[in-house]
Symmetry: C2
Subunit: 412 residues, 2 copies
C-alpha cells in the first residue's frame, strides 16, 4: 500500500500538444502485460535528459546519451521486463535495433529515437518480440495516452504515477504532464529509474538543459528507497513549443521563474510518488537537514539516515528508537562534526518535538511525545548540524517485511 | 539460526594466565539477565584497543580513549542493555562513576579501568544498579570465566562467540582466547561492537598496538551486517606476559610472525562469527575483491555489494539475480571504472562459476549453475576489477524477514 498516494484519475492528466502516447503488450518477459510504450513527439520538440551515473549504465542509456545532443528527437520507446543492462555489446546492438525499428515505423532516422528499458539486469533483451509489438503501440498513439503510459512503464510499482500542472506564460496557458516509475533500486544519481515530463511551453534548449539538471537535483536526486543506484535511471523533459508563448530564453525572466516553479513542483511530486510507493513502504519520511557547512554534507547526513536499515525498521515499527538516528548522523562521514552542536526534531501532523541536543537526549523530550509522532504515516526528521548555512531536503520510506518479500520474490 | 556457527564448548575455551572473568545480573535494562561482566587483569598486563569512529561515540568509549594511553590497566567492565551513547555530559559522568566504583572494588585507580557499554542508544545508564552489581561480578571472577563472559556481553546475539588458540613462542606454549558480540548495527569502523582477546604472550606495547590496528583492519573492519556503524565499537587485545616467552619486540622476528598469525586467525574467526550470527542471517557471504588500483577501492566495491539490500535479499531467496551485483559494483564510486574489464564469479562448496565478463553475462554462464551455487549456506562472490593489484576480502550476510522483525521489535 503506497503511503498517501492514490492512482491518478485519467481525466486529470492533461494532454500536451505535440505529444502522443501508445502502449502495447509485447511479451518482453511475461505474457499479457502492457510492457511497451511509445511516445511520439511533433517536429520541433526539444528534449533534455539526465541519466544514471552507475558505471554499469544500461545499453539504452548509452544510446540515449549518443542520440540526444544532436536534437531532433521524434520518438521515445520504453520497455519493461528486461533492463538491457549488463548485456555488453549484444545489448548495445539490441538497443540500436530497437531504434531502427521505431524509426522505420515513423519514417525518421534511428538517431531521432531514444530507447529506455527497465526490469531485470543481466538478461538479453528479446528485441524481436519488442519490434513485433511496435505496430500495436503505434496504432494506440493518442494525445490523452498519459494514463495508459503511466501504467505501461510500471514494474514493481503498485500504483501508476502521473500528474499535470498548468501555468500562464506570456498570456498563454501552458501544460505540464509527467509520469514516473520505480519502487526499488532507488537511489537516483542524476535521475530516477524513469521519469518523463512534457510541456507545450516554448523554451530554448540551453535553458531546458540547465533547468532539468537543477530540478533533477532537487527532486529525483533527493530521494532514496534502498540506496541502490539503478543502471537505467533516466529523467526526460520534453518541450514541444506548441503553446505559442514567447520563447523563454532568459533565466532571469519572470516567465522562466514561473515555468521553473511549475517544473520543479511536478518533478518533486513525481519523485515523492516513487518514495510513497517504495517497495514495502508504510511510512513517508522527509529528511530536512540544515545548518551544514554546505549542501553536500547535509546530503551525506540525509543519505546516512535514509539508508540506515536500523532507522528504517524502527520507523516501520513506529518505535521512537531515536538513538539510531544519532548513530547514523555520527557515521555520515563528517570528520570534524561536533555532536554537542546538533539538534534533532521529529515532526508529524503539524507537531514538532525536540529529541536530541547537547550530544544527548533533550531534557524536555518525553518518550510518549516521540511515540505519538511516530504513529503518523508522514514523518519529518529535522536535523540542525549547527555549523553553517547549508541545507538539503530529501525523502525516503521505511523498511518493512514486504521490502524483503518483494525483493526475494522479484523475478520468480 | 546462525550460519554454520555453534556455541562454544566451555571446555574448549582456555584460561589465559593473568586474566579472570566474572559475570552478574545487575538489572541494567531487564531483570534476570546476566548483563554485567568484569575482567580482571594481573599487574603488568599490556592492553591495546581500537574504537569506533562514529562521531557520536559513546561515553565509555571516550573514557577508554582517555585511560588507555597511560597503561597500567587492571580491570575492564562491560554492561549490556544500555549503550550509554547519545547521553551527553551525564553519560560521561556515569561512565566515570562506573570506573570509580570498579576501582574501589579492586583498590586501584579509576584511570586503570576501561568501561564498555552496549545496548539501546539515547537512554541514561542506570549507574546505581550497575554499581550495586559489581560485588557479585567480582565474587564470580575465575580464570575459566570466558564461557560466562561470552554470554554476559550478548545482546541480540543468538549464540555466544568465543574461541581459543595456542602457539609455541620461544619454547613456551602461549594461549590466545577471545570473545565477541554483535549482530546488528554492524559496519565496524576501527573495530566491531565488542571484541576482547587476551593472551599470556609477552609482547612489547608498541608491537601490540600496531598489531591490533593491522588485525582490526583485516578482521572486524572487514565485516558488515547492515552498514550501520555503531557508537560503541571496541576491540581490545590484552597481553599479560605470563607465558614466560622472551619478550617479542621485533616485528621482523619469527616469533612475531607466529604470534601475528595466531592473533589474526582468532580475530577473523571472532569477526566472522558476528556475521554468521548477523540479525536474521541465513547465508554467509565472502566478498573477494581483487584487481583494484588499491585496497581502498576494493573495499568500496565490497561495501557496495555487502550493503545492497537488493543483493542481500536475492541471496536470502537463493535467487541468482546477479545483475544486482553488477549494479552495486557500478555505483560503488569508482568514477573511471571500465566495466568491460570486470569479471564476477560465484563460488560455493569448491565450485566456481564465471557469471559476468565484457560488461555482460558470461557466454558460458548457465542459470542452473548460478542456482546451484546459491543453494549453499556459504557463498563467495569474487570480483576482478581488472585494473591493478589491490585486493580486499570482506564478509557479510543476507537480508531476511527476520532482520526486519528483530529490528522492528528490538526495545520492546
Amino acid at each position: 500500500m503506497p503511503v498517501l498516494l492514490s492512482p491518478p484519475q485519467a481525466a486529470a492528466l492533461l494532454p500536451v500538444p505535440g505529444v502522443r502516447l501508445g502502449v502495447a503488450e509485447a511479451a518482453i518477459r511475461k505474457l499479457n502485460r502492457k510492457d511497451l510504450t511509445l511516445i511520439e513527439l511533433a517536429p520541433g520538440a526539444r528534449v533534455a535528459g539526465v541519466f544514471t551515473q552507475n558505471r554499469f549504465c544500461a545499453a539504452p542509456v548509452q544510446v540515449c546519451k549518443a542520440n540526444l545532443p544532436a536534437g531532433g528527437i521524434r520518438a521515445l520507446v520504453i520497455n519493461t521486463g528486461v533492463a538491457n543492462a549488463g548485456t555488453g555489446e549484444p545489448g548495445l546492438a539490441a538497443a540500436r535495433a530497437t531504434c531502427e525499428a521505431v524509426a522505420a515505423q515513423f519514417e525518421i532516422d534511428a538517431s531521432q529515437v531514444l530507447p529506455f528499458s527497465t526490469g531485470v539486469i543481466l538478461e538479453p533483451l528479446p528485441v524481436e518480440r519488442l519490434v513485433a509489438g511496435l505496430p500495436a503501440a503505434k496504432a494506440a498513439l493518442k494525445a490523452d495516452g498519459w494514463f495508459c503510459a503511466a501504467h505501461g512503464i510500471m514494474t514493481t510499482d503498485t500504483v501508476p504515477k502521473a500528474a499535470s500542472r498548468q501555468v500562464q506564460l506570456g498570456g498563454k496557458t501552458i501544460t505540464l504532464t509527467g509520469i514516473s516509475k520505480g519502487a526499488g533500486m532507488i537511489k537516483p544519481n542524476m535521475a530516477t529509474m524513469l521519469g518523463f515530463m512534457a510541456t507545450d511551453a516554448d523554451v530554448a534548449q540551453p535553458l531546458l538543459d540547465a533547468l532539468l539538471k537543477e530540478v533533477a537535483d532537487l527532486s529525483f536526486n533527493s530521494i532514496t528507497v534502498d540506496g541502490d543506484t539503478s543502471t537505467n535511471d533516466s529523467f526526460m523533459l520534453i518541450a514541444t513549443g506548441q503553446a505559442g508563448n514567447p520563447t523563454i530564453t532568459d533565466a532571469a525572466s519572470a516567465d522562466y521563474a514561473v515555468f521553473r516553479a511549475a517544473v520543479l513542483d511536478l518533478a518533486i511530486w513525481l519523485a515523492q510518488a516513487i518514495v510513497r510507493d517504495g517497495e514495502g513502504a508504510t511510512k513517508f519520511m522527509t529528511l530536512q537537514i540544515e545548518g551544514g557547512k554546505d549542501r553536500d554534507e547535509c546530503r551525506k547526513v540525509g543519505y546516512a539516515i535514509g539508508h540506515s536499515p536500523l532507522v528504517k525498521t524502527a520507523f516501520f515499527a513506529s518505535d521512537p528508537n531515536l538513538g539510531r538516528i544519532l548513530a547514523a548522523i555520527g557515521y555520515a562521514g563528517i570528520d570534524d562534526l561536533d555532536v554537542a552542536g546538533i539538534k534533532v526534531w521529529l515532526a508529524s501532523n503539524g507537531e514538532e518535538v525536540l529529541v536530541a541536543e547537547l550530544g544527548g537526549r533533550a531534557s524536555s523530550y518525553r518518550e510518549e511525545d516521540g511515540s505519538s509522532i511516530m504513529q503518523a504515516s508522514e514523518i519529518a526528521i529535522r536535523v540542525d548540524l549547527g555549523r553553517g548555512e547549508g541545507k538539503a531536503t530529501m525523502w525516503t520510506c521505511d523498511f518493512s517485511y514486504d521490502y524483503v518479500k518483494i525483493n526475494a520474490d522479484y523475478r520468480s
